[in-house]
């Protein structure tokens, strides 16, 4: 368990270092995600790697544990918003309406594009 958490933190640390060092517009944890994914894929190819946190589903169990309460992790930042609601004082209603409409339009555009393309591909496969 400890070694698995350590491996997750190490991936994030390397991700942060690379993102900062190269000035990439990606968050460090996203690079860490890619790194952990590559490690998991490499483990399947090279049995040598299947030890410690990468053996016996160690890092898988730890990762799922972290993700099981993903919502909780947004609470501190959310409370910060409640404290800064006065930023919305002058244009609050307009801002909330704009954001709500935009999120609906974005959800629809994304889901419908995804569906359309995956249907088109399936038709091509069928032919």
């Amino acid at each position: 368990m400890l070694a698995s958490l350590g491996l997750i933190l190490l991936c994030q640390l390397i991700g942060e270092a690379v993102a900062r060092g190269l000035g990439l517009p990606l968050p460090g944890p996203v690079l860490g995600l890619l790194l952990l994914l590559m490690l998991l894929l490499a483990r399947d190819r090279f049995k040598l790697l299947a030890l410690g946190p990468l053996g016996n589903a160690g890092v898988e169990t730890a990762g799922k544990g972290l993700l099981s309460h993903l919502s909780l992790l947004f609470v501190p930042a959310g409370v910060g918003v409640v404290q800064e609601l006065d930023l919305l004082a002058s244009h609050g209603i307009a801002i909330i309406l704009v954001l709500a409409l935009s999120v609906v339009i974005t959800l629809l555009a994304t889901v419908l594009t995804f569906r359309l393309v995956s249907r088109l591909l399936r038709q091509q496969d069928a032919r």
């Binding site: 997750i8 933190l9 994030q12 942060e16 517009p25 990606l26 968050p27 944890p29 996203v30 995600l33 890619l34 790194l35 952990l36 994914l37 998991l40 894929l41 898988e60 990762g63 799922k64 993700l67 309460h69 993903l70 919502s71 909780l72 992790l73 947004f74 609470v75 501190p76 930042a77 959310g78 409370v79 910060g80 918003v81 409640v82 404290q83 930023l87 244009h91 307009a94 801002i95 909330i96 704009v98 954001l99 709500a100 409409l101 935009s102 999120v103 609906v104 339009i105 974005t106 959800l107 629809l108 555009a109 994304t110 889901v111 594009t113 995804f114 569906r115 393309v117 995956s118 591909l121």
Partner: protein, 240 residues
């Protein structure tokens, strides 16, 4: 023992322990209610935990800085949890690989829509230029969005508020909206949730379906990258 209960409160209210405990217990209750209502969208545990704790801080006159000294231990886990998204991604890699084309097309369509729609709507609503710029990156995760806002000389704290509000509204609206469109493909539904509503949408997607959560996490990560290139471009083209 101190005879004055007030001095005990002053001591405890300044300690990280109290605010970490409050965060965990309030969330545990809002999450229990959410489970009890079978994850009803309006019973979103983040939404209810944030206003209850916010009201509690207001009533007790506690500053956010004091609160955050305790809550930071929870906040810190956001980074490791993002890394941990690699695990479900790895376990569902076959479905992800076969969906790569629809994902990339939906990524471009969704990212462009997210930025262009908010900029145009905000201009239509007559919001001042600084507000328009601060709202533009609202669909990506807070850290990246605030970075984009900073580089545009907008107001990063207004951006943070817009990001969280977008996430909460997206997480609430996504299930009823998707049910209405009749799309039952959880890859597509999850991808839309992560693209439009970043991590809070992803947390919602994982509550509904694991595949939805995986695709949501991918969309959130890719959108962070695309949006940081897209916003400066859109702002040059669209903002007067």
């Amino acid at each position: 023992m101190s005879g004055n209960p007030f001095s005990l409160w002053v001591y405890l209210s300044q300690s990280p322990l109290l605010w970490l405990t409050v965060t965990l217990l309030v969330y545990a209750s809002t999450d229990a209610v959410s489970l009890r209502t079978r994850r009803h969208p309006l019973a979103n545990p983040v939404l209810h935990a944030m206003w209850i704790i916010g009201a509690f801080l207001l009533v007790t006159g506690t500053s956010y800085t004091t609160y955050f000294a305790g809550a930071q231990f929870v906040h810190f886990l956001l980074g490791p949890a993002t890394v941990a998204l690699a695990v479900p991604l790895y376990e569902n890699r076959k479905r992800v690989v076969t969906s790569i084309v629809p994902m990339l097309v939906a990524l471009v369509a969704g990212s462009v829509t997210a930025v262009v729609s908010v900029v145009l709507l905000a201009e239509l609503a007559g919001l001042p230029r600084e507000v328009v710029l601060s709202l533009a990156p609202k669909s990506v995760t807070a850290g990246v969005a605030m970075g984009i806002a900073g580089s545009l000389h907008a107001d990063p704290s207004l951006t943070a508020v817009a990001v969280i509000l977008t996430g909460i509204m997206g997480a609430i609206i996504v299930t009823p909206l998707m049910n209405r469109t009749g799309v039952t493909d959880y890859r597509a539904r999850g991808f839309a949730a992560g693209l439009a509503a970043h991590g809070i949408g992803t947390a919602r997607a994982f509550q509904v379906d694991e595949i939805a959560g995986v695709f949501s996490g991918i969309a959130m990560s890719l959108n962070a990258l695309v949006t940081s290139f897209l916003v400066p471009l859109a702002v040059t083209l669209l903002v007067r």
